[in-house]
Symmetry: C2
């Protein structure tokens, strides 16, 4: 690909994202961002008061596979210049989940009314980036094929605590046959900032999952004859840690309704 063609490509992706972001910002688009502007990094979001930020930053540092940090704001600043020129975290997520004292409270489509001068925003890489990479590698991602949300489970894998934050890892599951499973491990290894390689393959009971047909979050997907389940660390993990840490207020995205950045997935690749 020529440099000029590539610039054109990136610009067309950015234009597409800008259009969707504007509809998210106006409250017109409140649904999932799955499959939208799929060349761009999408992010899991956790917003916390500044006096909870140091613990959470250390929690990310201690758990880089489940919480791959790709952006942090200045306290009180709704911008994220590392991730895009035109981002406002108060309006640019389709739907927000508010946590009060660790419990899921209201969901809203705009947090301008809730914004505090001490809020710090953390953005974590998301499996949508590696689903894009898997698709480009010629693999079929079952939840994309079925048009459903990915299956997510509370695992028995403990995260490494930091201050008040602790809890088990949430994992997402995608089934593949043997040869495709090997390829999927190779492809996702390249993307450590999007959870990287799977954390488990095969028998779900080894990581405390009793029934694949009953995910704790998202939708069940079909597992076909000869396929193995592959489990990746999931960006819903910090939501369990929020339940345990019980900050007076915290705000996240609603699973599947992510922050659309202005950076390309390929910029996350290490190999």
């Amino acid at each position: 690909m020529q440099t000029a063609d590539y610039s054109d490509f990136k610009q067309s992706v950015l234009d597409q994202a800008a259009s969707l972001r504007s509809r998210i910002r106006s409250g017109e688009h409140t649904g999932t961002t799955s499959g939208a502007a799929h060349s761009l990094i999408q992010g899991n979001v956790v917003i916390l008061p500044a006096d909870w930020a140091a613990d959470f930053l250390m929690y990310c540092q201690n758990n880089p596979v489940a919480l791959p940090l790709i952006g942090v704001s200045e306290p009180g600043d709704p911008a994220l210049p590392e991730l895009g020129r035109d981002l406002d975290i108060r309006t640019d997520i389709p739907e927000y989940q508010v946590f009060r004292d660790g419990a899921r409270a209201e969901t809203v489509t705009d947090i301008r009314e809730l914004w505090q001068g001490d809020f710090v925003t953390f953005v974590l890489g998301c499996s949508f980036s590696f689903e894009d990479a898997l698709t480009r590698a010629g693999l079929t991602v079952r939840n994309v094929e079925q048009g459903s949300n990915v299956s997510m489970y509370r695992s028995s894998i403990a995260t490494r605590p930091a201050g008040r934050f602790h809890g088990n890892m949430v994992v997402s599951m995608r089934p593949f046959n043997g040869a495709d499973a090997i390829r999927a491990i190779q492809v996702t290894t390249r993307l450590p900032k999007a959870h990287g390689a799977p954390v488990h393959i095969g028998d779900p009971s080894q990581i405390g999952i009793a029934d694949l047909a009953k995910p704790d979050f998202g939708d069940p997907v079909t597992i076909r004859e000869g396929e193995l389940p592959l489990f990746w660390a999931c960006g819903v993990t910090p939501q369990l840690a929020l339940e345990n840490a019980r900050p007076p207020i915290a705000i996240t995205h609603v699973p599947g309704k992510m922050l659309l950045t202005e950076r390309l997935n390929e910029e996350l690749a290490v190999l």
Copy 2:
């Protein structure tokens, strides 16, 4: 590691190999080379008359995972300068398998009497190189742990034919738990010239293997609760193709009794 230390390391490995090679050359050592001078590349060997060499070279080209070519001799020349200064293919393998018209005939510990002026030697990378890499990565290789030969099976995976050479792939199997299986795929991906990543993981019947406890070559190994079998392409594959192609004479190593080269496994790594 300092450059000087590394030179010392390589020299000590080469000295160790030279000592073993001299005992192989004299006929004193006729056993396996498993675990010997384990930092050095060991090779699968196929020796053919020159009028069979072009077909076999194309067979390697068509099947780089099962037949990763790392050295080819000049016709009639028993040296392999690419792989070591001090190699003589007529004496430097512990035990040779002679094929006559495609059938396994005698085994010998020296082929000086059988040598022909038109013989071409092909050396293929070997799983011993990746077993070394797996061990360095902190994984336990079951056949090494049990002190047995690796389990090998005739699979239903067809190789891509070339001229008179065709047949199914032989695969070697090593069991790992989920997390180690993922790590093993990453580690062996770095070594395409030692068969690279596995070709299959999980259900053996998917690649035509009925019973893991009954390998076609080598020894059975224990598979523990929660472990998955991983299958790698194996350097015994060309021996099946020799059975099908039926050259009047061909000579290979006896499985597990390999050619010890003077190059380090790490020199094969692509990442």
